[in-house]
């Protein structure tokens, strides 16, 4: 996945319009709730075959934090 594709996937996850997310976007400005966390765990499992834990996710502050684990 390219950086752009990852951002687009996250825009879909957070249900925001295309072009609104950047790596610097703070998660507390988005609907970063339990459903979003489940969707992220599912996404990372599906696309990257990785297991993301709740503990890892809890410390995320920005979209960049999410992008870092998307590989």
């Amino acid at each position: 996945m390219t950086q752009q594709e990852k951002i687009e996937a996250l825009e879909e996850l957070f249900e925001v319009d295309a072009g609104t997310l950047s790596a610097a976007t703070a998660l507390d400005k988005l609907q970063w709730d339990s459903m979003a966390m489940l969707s992220l765990i599912a996404l990372v499992n599906e696309k990257f075959g990785k297991r993301l834990s709740g503990q890892q996710i809890k410390v995320f502050k920005t979209v960049q934090d999410i992008l870092t684990v998307m590989e």
Binding site: D33, S34, M35, M37, L38, I41, A42, N45, E46, R51, L52, S53, G54, Q55, I57
Partner: protein, 336 residues
């Protein structure tokens, strides 16, 4: 008694029902429809104040005897799966022997598991029969998680319902139960837990202190806590692999399985697992919108419903998949 069936099942759900409309009144910003969208659940049954898991199990067993013309005197072993026993001691299954009119020559024991309990119970029953210890095992899976749940903890109050199933595993049907794959990860013990009440942390004024979590749910250490994110993460990385291993152990391919009955946890998790395991919707049984997640009773309740609505036909190969508290998991293939 029906001959040559793998399992004979009857179920019991307590009378009182908690609807999404009632829950929406309690939780700001939530509608009945939103609760259904997030969970796939509209109603859950709630045990009465003086109605224990043992009582639910007894009622399910009585229905089993009546609905399937089974004489209690033929039962020679009682297995009760519950995490809400009547007492720390004596064993609730021992009391059920007396209440159900089962002979005193029968064995009886409780075992403490949740969402994987039915699978483990089947493995124990098969072992008891294969070792010529028993011929007719009554496996009761009964749970009352709602008694542990704080009314203002929507993370679990929307999900769990009370219920019981009574399953007869008989020597005539034992060969219809295939091989098991089981697993345990105790490092996840605190992801689904009632912290106080037993020997590690006795209940006290301190454990009863309520607190709010980051999502605005209220609970105390006396209440059920579930880390939904961690449980989801664990499940999606464990279950697909287990399904594959269970096929291999039973020398079967995906196409050989006619129906999959997973523990009926919640819609989101089941949808993800179905797609991840590449199971088509017609082969993936889901029927829990009116009873919620009934923990150890969820798989047998689903099986009984599938048999009743015709989805499940004699001769079908069914994979049963359980996973949850412990953390614990297990799967088996049965020929219905």
């Amino acid at each position: 008694m029906e001959d040559k069936v793998a399992l004979t099942i009857s179920t019991y759900l307590p009378v009182s029902v908690l609807t999404n409309d009632e829950l929406a009144l309690l939780y700001a910003g939530w509608t009945a429809e939103k609760i259904f969208e997030k969970t796939g659940i509209r109603e859950r049954h709630i045990s009465a104040e003086n109605e224990t898991a043992g009582d639910l199990g007894e009622k399910a067993a009585r229905r089993l005897f009546v609905e399937h013309s089974i004489d209690p005197s033929c039962i020679d072993f009682i297995l009760l799966a519950t995490q809400s026993p009547d007492y720390f001691l004596p064993t609730t299954a021992c009391m059920l022997q007396d209440r159900l009119g089962i002979p005193t020559t029968a064995g009886a024991l409780d075992f403490n598991l949740g969402c994987s309990a039915f699978i483990y119970g089947l493995s124990l029953a098969k072992g008891l029969i294969a070792s010529e210890t028993a011929k007719n095992v009554l496996l009761i899976t009964a749970e009352t998680y709602t008694k542990y749940i704080h009314p203002m903890d929507k993370s679990v109050r929307t999900i769990f319902g009370d219920g019981a199933a009574a399953t007869l595993i008989s020597i005539t049907g034992k060969d219809r139960i295939g091989k098991f794959v089981l697993g345990t990860d105790g490092s996840g013990y605190d992801k689904l837990i009632v912290p106080s009440g037993a020997m590690r942390l006795c209940p006290s004024a301190e454990t009863a202190l309520e607190f709010a979590d980051d999502s605005g749910n209220t609970r105390s250490k006396d209440n059920l806590f579930m880390d939904g994110t961690e449980i989801f993460s664990f499940t999606i990385s464990t279950v697909p692999r287990m399904v594959k291993e269970t096929l291999e152990k039973n020398r079967l391919k995906m196409e050989d399985i006619d129906l999959f009955v997973f523990h009926q946890a919640n819609q989101y998790m089941l949808d993800f697992l179905r797609k991840k395991c590449k199971i088509t919707p017609e082969k993936f049984y889901m029927n829990f919108a009116d009873c919620g997640n009934t923990v150890s009773a969820s798989i047998p309740i689903a099986l009984a419903r599938a048999a009743k609505d015709g989805t499940l036909q004699p001769g079908m190969k069914v994979m049963l998949v359980g996973f949850g508290v412990g953390l614990s998991w297990g799967a088996v293939v049965i020929t219905w």
